[in-house]
Structures are given as C-alpha cells and as structure tokens.
C-alpha cells in the first residue's frame, strides 16, 4: 500500500502518457479512414477533387480535436 502511494506520482504520469498515446492511435486510425474515403472518392470522380479535399480537411480537424481532448486529459493526469 505504501509503495503504491509512494509511486502514485509516476503511475499517474505513466497513465497520462499511455492515455495520450492511445488518443494518438485513435486519431491515426480515424484520419487514416477519412483519407482512405477521400482518396477513393477522388479516384472515382476526379472532377470533385476540390470539394472532396476541403471536406477531408474539415473532417480531419474534427477528429483531431477529439484526439486532443484525450491528450489534454493525459496532460492533466501528469500535472494534477
């Protein structure tokens, strides 16, 4: 019990870092799927490339926002 209390600071830091890593994993998977859909759509209809590109960047920013929620929580786990 004492050991756990003593190590709680570093365990919290480890938890925060692992959480941030998993959030980055989620972001990678999500943005990869957005990219996959976008590239396939461009291949099907090259004239729509501009529209598709704009939507892809917008969606990627949303997904990245969610991943950064996770990173902020990880940061809070380390400093709080």
């Amino acid at each position: 019990m004492n050991i756990m209390l003593v190590a709680s600071g570093s365990v919290a830091a480890a938890g925060g870092a692992i959480g941030a890593g998993i959030a980055a994993l989620g972001a990678g998977v999500g943005i990869g799927q957005i990219g996959k859909g976008a590239v396939e759509a461009i291949a099907r209809q090259p004239e729509a490339m501009g529209d598709i590109r704009a939507n892809m960047i917008l969606m990627a920013a949303f997904v990245e926002g969610v991943a950064l929620f996770g990173v902020i929580v990880g940061l809070l786990a380390i400093v709080l």
Binding site: I57, A61, L68
Partner: protein
C-alpha cells in the same frame, strides 16, 4: 486591353528566382542548424550566445539543475500567462543571464484597499509590494494578497496585451478595407487588403452562413466574421517567436464559447425548445432517456467548442517547444548527440510550425462553422416550411 503572352524568357526567369529562393532557404536552414550546433555543443565557453531562439538560451540557462523539471518549466513558461512579457535571456559567462523582458501593469481591485495599479517589476522578485505578492506555481503564477483577502486581478497581462495588439491589427486591416468601400462602394475592383478580405468574407457567407442560417444570415454575419478573424489573427500572433499563447488559454476560449452559447440561447425559437423538452416521433418511454441527453448536449456543444480550440492551439505550441527542448535534453547526455539531433529537431519544428499555421486557420473556421450550425439549429421553424427543392419533371 491586350494580353501579353508570357514569354519563355520570363518563365525561365521565374524558375531561376524560385531556384534562388530555394537556395536561400537551404542556406538559412543551414545557418540556423549550424548556430544551433554551436549553442548545443558549447556548455561552458560560448561567449556569443546570440538570442537565436528564445527557448534555446532559456533552456540552456536552466540546464544546470534538474533536467526534467526545467524542460517543464521552459514549456509552461512559454504557454502560461505572465505579468511581464519575457522575450529572451542572454546568457553570460559566470553571471546571471540578462533577461530581456517588459514588465506590464498590474491592476488589482481589493474591496478593502480599492484599486491598486503598479508595474509588475515591483513584485517580480517575489517580494511583496503594497501587500500583494506574486506566487509562482508549477504551471502559472498569480498575485495573492498578503492578508489572504480575495482580490480581483484585472491586470494587463501578456495575453491581454497580445489580444489588444491583435485587435488593433484587425481594426487597422478592416478599417483600411472599409474606407475603400465607403469611397467607391462596390463599383471599383478591390485593391490591397480588400482582395484578401473579400475572398474570406464571401467564403464565410456562402459556405457557412447561408447554408446554416438560411435567409436570416445577414443578422449573424458580423458575429461570425468577428469570431473568425479574431481567432485567426490571435492564432497567428501566438506562433511568432516571443508571441503570447492567447487562444491556447482556456479562459479565452471559454469566453468565446460563452459568447457563442449566449447567442445560441437568445436566438433559439420556441420550436427548438419544444423539441428539446418533448422530442416528436419518439416512444414515450424513451423520452425519459432522451430529454436529459438533449439538455446535456445543449451545454456540451459550446464546451466542446471551447476545449477543441484550446487543445489544438496549446498542443501545437507544446509540441513545437518540446521538439526544440529535445535538443537540449540530448545535449545534456552528450554534446555530440545533441548537435547531431539538431537537423532532425529543426526539420520537425518547421513542419510543426507549418502545420500550426494550417491548424490555426482551420480551427478558427471550425469554431465559426459550428457556431453557425448551432444557431441554425435553434432557428429552425416548423418543418413544413421548405426551401425550394428540385421538382421532378415527369
């Protein structure tokens, strides 16, 4: 007007100037890299520690003590708000580093002592002045009263000054364009700043305001445009070396989200509230589950706006600072490892800066887009009023 054909000679001249520009970039990159190598390599005999990067000199100055703690101090020192605007420190051999910093006014209101205004240089060292003292926490600093009384700190801090500079820049740009419209109306072709602003305003009107808000978009255009340009210019100012991390401060984004929330609430129609409390077409039992979710989502949407902007900008700044500090972490292990890592770190930092430029613009656009969407959801009338839709021609 006769259109002159572009000659091959002119094209080759442009290609030559592109090549020259590229060589200039490589040269600058190399010079920065070399000077970083010089800084990272010499820990004891460098007399010319020129202020190339603010983080560089400061990270080196704090390197002598505990390694891990000072990287955090450097990073949070750049991210957090402060009562002085610290630009960089010039390291001196064997003496305290010279800090180039501007003290900013501290304005405190205490219900007993009234308003106190003084320069922050008086409380910088940690000494109390007029009963107020600066307390430095791990992540930020704040002014506390010596007798523990609650105080209202309405100082001009680094973030406030950065906001005022951003607002001044924005006013100047917009008023330049506005003057031209006042003089010529829409009869003359746009020139100067007008070109850029027209593109952005028309983009926001046609892609954000009109689809979301329908016919009533004109009423909300000033709000949407102001929010967009305000967030964008403050994101850009935060990227400059020596810039303040304004939009990466949760108090700032919370205020912007609160503003959006108030506009959404005030402009929501009765139809929206009735649907919130009594969703139509839902089985009776599920309503008990759905209504709390709807009410919570009403508050969560602006909160998500706040956190999204805050997290994106702050995370971008932290990543850039961490990439630069990595050089010094490695240099503490071995100077040659540090020097060798400099080109990698510099390349990543430049990439992150470019990404942050993009992210700054995109996050401003997303904030405005979502605000328009939420206002539009509140403005929805009864569903039998349709806009024009395509008729099926039999």
């Amino acid at each position: 007007m006769k259109i002159k054909p572009i000659s091959l000679h002119k094209i080759s001249k442009q290609v030559m100037s592109c090549k020259r520009l590229f060589s200039l970039l490589v040269l600058t990159f190399g010079v920065f890299g070399a000077s970083f190598c010089a800084l990272a390599q010499t820990e004891s005999n460098d007399k010319s520690a020129s202020p190339v990067e603010p983080a560089a000199a400061e990270a080196k100055a704090g390197e002598k003590e505990n390694n891990k703690l000072d990287v955090a101090k450097v990073i949070f020192g750049h991210i957090a708000d402060a009562h002085e605007w610290h630009l960089f420190s010039i390291k001196h051999e064997g003496a305290e580093p010279t800090e180039i910093a501007f003290p900013l006014p501290v304005i405190i209101y205490n219900s007993q002592k009234g308003l106190s205004v003084f320069s922050s240089s008086k409380i910088e060292e940690g000494e109390p002045y007029e009963g107020y003292r600066l307390v430095r926490g791990p992540m930020k600093e704040k002014v506390v009263s010596d007798d523990g009384a609650p105080i209202y700190d309405i100082s001009i801090t680094k973030n406030v000054l950065s906001m005022l500079i951003g607002v001044a820049l924005l006013l100047w740009v917009m008023m330049q364009a506005g003057k031209k419209y006042n003089k010529h109306g829409a009869t003359k072709a746009p020139s100067g700043m007008q070109n850029f602003i027209e593109v952005v305003v028309i983009f926001l009107r046609d892609e954000v305001a009109k689809p979301c808000l329908g016919d009533k978009y004109k009423k909300y255009m000033p709000l949407l445009l102001t929010i967009f340009f305000f967030i964008w210019i403050n994101n850009l100012l935060g990227l400059l070396p020596g810039g303040a991390n304004f939009t990466g401060n949760i108090a700032v984004t919370a205020c912007l989200a609160l503003l959006a929330f108030i506009v959404i609430l005030v402009n929501s129609k009765k139809h929206f509230w009735m649907h919130l409390i009594n969703p139509p077409g839902v089985p009776f039992g599920i309503k008990f589950l759905l209504v709390p979710i709807e009410i919570v989502s009403l508050f969560i949407k602006p909160m998500a706006l706040c956190i999204r902007l805050f997290a994106n900008i702050m995370a971008g700044h932290i990543v850039i600072l961490a990439l630069i500090c990595i050089v010094f972490i490695f240099a503490a292990i071995n100077t040659y490892v540090g020097a060798g890592f400099v080109p990698v770190s510099l390349a990543f930092s430049i990439f992150m800066f470019l990404l942050e430029l993009l992210v700054g613009a995109i996050q401003a656009f997303i904030f405005v887009n979502l605000t328009a969407v939420f206002i539009g959801q509140g403005l929805e009338g009864a569903h039998d009023e349709h806009g024009p839709h395509a008729e099926i021609i039999a």
